[in-house]
Symmetry: C2
Subunit: 509 residues, 2 copies
């Protein structure tokens, strides 16, 4: 790698603005496509299956590969810790027709879950892939449970889902799944190496992926670190490298409003180089412009924080209030895009962002483990009277009072005449003092875009429409599955199922 290329990569990872970089050195050499031919390569290691990334998809792929009889399976992770962005997500897992649904009398099916997702996808989701994931979602959940993952004893009904079908880890975090899966993977003989960064594919003369080039001993943020390391993968390479939400240049290329100032829930490593290297190999970029912001995030804390899980849990029995009007402005459990767009419209008289508030009765809010934490860390507030709440957030009191009375009528009647919210989970849960309040503002959360795959997790080539031999991808690095808006808690099942699917495709070939 030339010195220019190294410098360029460093800039890439630091997310330096495009305009700035162009102004500084308009015609310097770009990074070349890093993939290369295998002629003369000295392999440092040979495995059956090489897996890049140690989030849900990579870990599930590793375990399943061993169970399918693969001998040498290695997971390569660029960061010092395993688990990727998965480890810090909300730990929410949607599945249809589960034991807990049966226990609680919830009618659900694969078809119903797919229909909910197709609606949020606004016509361009991949129905076949969604169905494949839904059909295997319970199997993926069982994989996690068998590995030791623990879940809350209740189901949640997240925005856009027509029934409660979402499990959540008892630690309310993705690490409640990645840690057991990591342990299980190692127990079953999967090798795991950290601080080793994917740096390109190695191809044979026919374009088959024969192996990968890596940088071993890599320190994130120090792009000169690490030494070249070549791994031959005799049966296939599984790319489970995640999205690019933390890459400001690449997300701004799709949406100029997603500047460095906009918050992001993702782990720092979500920078997308694995995805873009696949585009250089000929993979088809799908739905790159559809970047999802989480409508449950708080502007008062960094990343996913404490508020996100708190508000996801509380939305069904809370009201979201525009502070200019004192009135509701959205269905609190609509799909993510609908809500994020509605929140972004909450502006002061000058058009500046005025984060709306979510108001919940303390007696219901306190059911969530984070209710006290948001108070402790100063990102949530508790008020004994509506007057105090209105004064604190500068909300007009009378319209707010009237709105709460009106909403409480909907709680009573079971019909939301304003926004058509499903009031099933709000039954008997009136909005009344004392109040628990958090502020809301969307944060960049998930990239629906990525490489196009088949139901076998094969990566398609743009010129042939056929799979690139020996290349597989699973999880957020793939695109087109969810369409315009992904429903909450549908990413973990996708990652786990498609990771398992990739290993089955390889071993059953």
């Amino acid at each position: 790698m030339t010195n220019n290329t190294q410098q360029a990569r460093r800039r890439f990872l630091k997310g330096l603005g495009v305009a700035g970089a162009v102004a500084a050195a308009p015609m310097a050499a770009p990074a070349l496509a890093s993939s290369m031919r295998s002629d003369g390569v000295k392999w440092d290691k040979t495995v059956d299956i090489a897996i890049i990334g140690s989030g849900f998809a990579g870990l599930a792929a590793g375990i399943e590969a061993k169970r399918q009889g693969a001998n040498n399976v290695t997971i390569f992770e660029k960061m010092p810790v395993f688990g990727g962005n998965s480890a810090i997500n909300g730990g929410l897992y949607a599945a249809p027709a589960t034991p807990m649904q049966k226990e609680k009398g919830v009618q659900d099916s694969v078809e119903r879950m797919v229909a909910d997702q197709m609606k949020a996808g606004r016509g361009i989701a991949d129905e076949g892939l969604l169905r494949h994931v839904a059909e295997h979602a319970m199997e993926g959940l069982q994989l996690a449970i068998d590995a030791g993952a623990e879940f809350h004893p209740y189901l949640q009904q997240l925005g856009g889902h027509s029934v409660p079908r979402t499990y959540q880890t008892s630690v309310s975090c993705g690490a409640g799944i990645t840690q057991p899966l990591l342990k299980q993977a190692r127990k079953e003989g999967v090798e795991t190496i950290n601080r080793i960064k994917f740096d390109g594919f190695v191809l044979d003369k026919d374009g088959k992926v024969e192996g990968i080039k890596l940088k071993r001993g890599y320190y994130f943020g120090e792009e000169d670190s690490g030494t070249e390391f070549f791994v031959r993968a005799t049966r296939g390479v599984i790319m489970a490298t995640g999205g690019f939400a933390q890459n400001v240049n690449l997300r701004m290329a799709q949406d100029p409003t997603l500047t460095a100032e906009v918050g992001c829930t993702n782990a720092k490593g979500a920078t997308g180089e694995g995805m873009f290297e696949m585009f250089r190999l000929g993979a088809i970029p799908v739905h790159m412009a559809h970047i999802q912001s989480g409508p449950w995030a708080s502007p008062d804390e960094g990343g996913f924080g404490y508020v996100s899980n708190y508000s996801i849990f509380n939305f069904p029995h809370s009201i979201a209030i525009n502070r200019m009007t004192g009135e509701r402005f959205m269905n609190e459990i609509a799909d993510r895009k609908t809500r994020a767009d509605a929140e972004l419209n909450c502006r002061d008289a000058e058009g500046k962002p005025l984060p709306p508030i979510m108001v919940t009765s303390w007696e219901h809010a306190k059911q969530h483990p984070n209710a006290k934490k948001v108070l402790k860390y100063g990102v949530g507030w508790k008020f004994d009277t509506l007057e105090a709440l209105a004064k604190h957030f500068d909300v007009p009191l009378k319209p707010l009072q009237a709105q709460i009375e009106q909403y409480n009528q909907y709680v009573k009647s079971g019909v939301d005449e304003q926004f058509g919210k499903n009031m099933g989970k709000a039954k008997g849960k009136y909005i009344q003092a004392p109040f628990s309040v958090v502020r809301l503002w969307p944060k960049v959360h998930y990239c629906q875009g990525g490489v196009q795959i088949t139901k076998e997790a094969k990566v398609l080539d743009s010129f042939t429409g056929k799979p690139i031999p020996n290349l597989f991808a699973a999880g957020e690095v793939t695109g087109g599955v969810h369409g315009v808006s992904r429903l909450g808690s549908c990413s973990i099942p996708e990652c786990v199922v498609m990771g398992m699917t990739a290993s089955r495709s390889i071993m059953q070939a």
Copy 2:
């Protein structure tokens, strides 16, 4: 090129369905990235600037390159005829603050045009690029006029534009611009070669684009045809290869509903291989999912046809009617996406497409040159009474009568209380017998997605955020300019201005 690769490319161009291809030969070798190093290449030809594609962008680039002092400039066109998809488009050209606007008393400005486009772009258009194009739009129009292009003596107000600012060629077709530009380009010394297909870039050791690989003597649809031909481009390569609306696989990757059965207005050559080769080089894919369908097209004829220009002209003083209800269902001059989505919602009781009708008074419809042609070719109808019209299209008569009376009130008052249509161009134009009618159904028309460029028409690299040296792109092959929905008549100015811009960037470097 291997035999496998040739076969693969043939499949690519024939637009064979992905599913079918996969089923037939799941793991055959894909086409390799065609770009290659220049070591040992024997150049067949050396030019200053190589331009790929002979549509608006390529032709404007060619002329401007000569005017900026380039010696050898060659335009390479894969099809037997020059002009590309541009030659068969509607010939509509939007520009702000033009002589005809002044003459007709229309207040307009660069800012106003950009604001209209930003609104249609739904927040993700590239404001800087839109402004650059709007600022130079009149200059581009003058280039065409000076070359001999002739325009109708009136301005049109197309959907989403807040004022009339659209010129149209007197032949109501893009050939009214491409033919004069082609003639002018040759007159100024630009060489033009047809039946020669771009087949990849040739790079120097630092990744700079040193030239291109082509297939000379190529016959479209016969992918084995043609012989290898290497062209060195000492100052740069301009990619003006257009969109991929005719590539069924690639458009379905973005939107599964855009099957081979969906109509398309584009020329057959709009298959996208130039764009995807740039992705293989590291260009950033932007807004690939935003594929625009023309809401003015007819399901009763192939391609752009006669109806499209007829209905674009007549929408301001026509009503669009849902045949199930007999009522209007959209603002007839909303932006394209708004209208296409509204038309796609026109369904019968079983949910099957029921193309809506556009009803115009014959006395106004006949002002357009295609009014008689649509009757002659059986894609338009004329009725003396509303009863006959309603009977022919199975529309409930009473609601239709009531709707027309109501709409005529809006014509009188100047305020559309149903859909907020700007009634300025409808003044005095009541809907009355005899009636002229066409059917409407969207056709795939334009790809907003493509490679990310700067205002200098430079193509950015995904790893560095900096331009790929000596590579430029202009026109529909670029992405991100227009955002979610492109306003009608804004593509030709973009193509012409960015083509000129590319040549200026090269020659002023």
